[in-house]
Amino acid sequence: MVESYPIKQVIDDQGNVVDASNKDLINEELVLRAYFHMYRIRTFDKKAKSLQRQGRIGTYPPFEGQEAAQVGSALALGEDDWLFPTYRDHGAMLTFGADMTRTFLYWNGRLEGCVPPEGKHIFPAAVPIATQILHATGASWAEKRKGTKNIAIAYFGDGATSEGDFHEGLNFASVFQTPTIFFNQNNGYAISVPFERQMNSKTIAQKGVAYEMPSVRVDGNDFFAVFFEMQKAVERARSGGGPTLIEAVTWRTGAHTTADDPTKYRAEGLGQDVVDPIIRLERFMKNAGFWNEDVVTKAHLEIEEEIEAAVKAMESYPKANVEDLFNHVFAELPDQLQEQKDAYLHLLGGK
């Protein structure tokens, strides 16, 4: 089966173009956007890890190594599309337009982190694995029913494919031909469990066969491969062609979360041959004449400033409001809950 799903690549590890079919589409604007976003979320990720180490935010799941997959997919979306992320996809969320301060807030245990900017369809990250796959199917089905051309993307990992909701979601999407993209980041691990123990199949793409769903396997560390395959899937979905399953083969460079110790289960040196997606893009930029030191330096500065500002905003954010414990459970609080709230606020006030 694995032969039926060759890994699509546009640039190789050295940044050389290996598939020139989309060459015309690779222009400066695209390259710089890709670089900017990948560098931006990488810097965010580093900052978040460092904040966690300093106890300034809570447990944090880094996505280092998956930037090409997250940026390549998110940049292929349109303004009005829907994004259903996991806890590891804040890179994609930020690229798609999530607020950075709120993203930090989320990882600091703040409800506000779940609220997307007005008009942006970004669902809060799904923590129970694979559940969001059904929400994306439903939300994109709603778009189809409304007669729009909007689509939804569901992000999920290799481990998520073992859950029943993965299967039920893909089946619903294929039966109702919803405009949904099932975007898998196969980063080799589900916490400590390697891909080979998660499933007996050599690819995730082949799981599309069960649903007669178009599927494709791409090099998830190759921004262009991800972006162009995403574009195809987006186009198919928008034009009524139904869902697509994309397997982006990538690698989780770091730990599962800041609470995880990969040396417990990952042989030393494993994955060292994986070329970092940003280095790969840089190599391509240099090879292909897109590298402009001034532009890059300016972008770095801009990004650092943005992140510093977001950290500051997160840390000076008004304290969590106790009332939010109660206020959003229902549109209108039932009497019992109102009483519980009143009594508790009274107790706090009486301190």
Binding site: V127, T131, I133, G138, A139, R145, E168, F172, H328, A331
Partner: protein, 336 residues
């Protein structure tokens, strides 16, 4: 099913509970084009109980949708539809088959408003026939309300009569939050009632006094209501006057109607089908404890299903609270 004009000029018809539910759905599908019906066999077949009979013919395959056999799939996609502008009425064929969807309801349907501070919400109704006594196969007869009253973020409704069924169903669909709508299979066709032909609602969160009484308060809901009424009538002959309360909504429970009645009678019996341990009866005991402690003349009695899985049909009549067991319970509190 003939139309009838009552004094107040409200046109009514004499229908069963299941017809009332069908009628309620028809009205909401007509009034609000964002409403959808999803479920197994709800379309062509009109539901295994015929609850959705004829609706696909009127509203089309696009609004009355036969889904694959997958409860998590039904609820999960309904959540996606609900956050994006639709109002799904999802049917779970029997309440005993809601468990595969428990995760989606518990971690998403009930939490999305909270998690997004109100940005997204899930105005969805989950319909589920429940209860024993109709000789159904295994697992078809569970009463799982307590698994949902303990779940913050979802309302739980359970009508006992055709009138309440239609009015509560429409209210549930209009509710901005998820509502689990439990349907007493046993009462689906067991009696008829005059029900307004047109739109009306019954307020969620309000119980109903079905019989006035002085000596004991009997608290129940759903399929147990007629059984409890029978017991109350029987006690009347022995000179004991029972007040019968049909809770109708199981979350949020109408605490006031309970407290007012128990403060009058000083005695209470709670009756439900589900197992005693962990059952909603315990919540009622707590409400009485909290609100009416000093009025109580006897411990509150619970007459419920036993702490056993709902049995095979040959034993289900032993499992269900009977008039006899309810009478014993009433005697226990009156003779205390």
């Amino acid at each position: 099913m003939t139309t009838k004009m009552t004094d107040t000029k409200i046109a009514t018809k004499n229908i069963t509970l299941i017809q009332a539910i069908n009628d309620g759905m028809k009205i909401v599908l007509e009034r609000d084009e964002t409403t959808l019906i999803l479920g197994e066999d709800v379309g062509k077949n009109g539901g295994v109980f015929r609850a959705t009979d004829g609706l696909q013919e009127v509203f089309g395959e696009d609004r009355v949708i036969d889904t694959p056999l997958s409860e998590s799939g039904i609820i999960g996609t309904s959540i996606g539809l609900a956050v994006n502008g639709f109002k799904p009425i999802a049917e779970i064929q029997f309440m005993g088959f809601i468990y595969p969807a428990y995760d989606q309801i518990m971690t998403h349907a009930s939490r999305i408003r909270m998690r997004t501070m109100g940005r997204y919400s899930v105005p969805m109704v989950i319909r589920a026939p429940y209860g024993a006594g109709v000789r159904a196969p295994e697992i078809h007869s569970d009463s799982a309300e307590a698994l949902f009253t303990h779940m913050p973020g979802i309302k739980v409704v359970c009508p006992a009569t055709p009138y309440d069924a239609k009015g509560l169903l429409i209210a549930a669909v209009e509710d901005p939050d998820p509502v689990l709508f439990m349907e007493p299979m046993h009462n689906y066709r067991s009696f008829r009632e005059e029900v307004p032909i047109d739109y009306y609602t019954v307020e969620i969160g309000k119980g109903k006094k079905r019989m006035e009484g002085e000596d004991v308060t009997l608290i129940t809901w759903g399929a147990m209501v007629p059984v409890v009424e029978k017991a109350a009538n029987q006690m009347k002959q022995h000179g004991i006057s029972c007040e019968v309360i049909d809770l109708r909504t199981l979350y949020p429970v109408d605490e006031r109607i309970i407290a007012e009645s128990v403060q009058k009678t000083g005695r209470a019996v709670v009756i439900h089908e589900a197992a005693k341990t962990g059952g909603l009866g315990n919540d009622i005991v707590s409400i009485i404890n909290d609100t009416s402690f000093l009025y109580l003349k006897a411990p509150v009695e619970r007459v419920t299903g036993f702490d056993v899985p709902v049995p095979f049909s040959s034993l289900e009549n032993h499992y269900l609270p009977t008039v006899e067991r309810i009478v014993k319970g009433i005697e226990k509190v009156t003779n205390f």
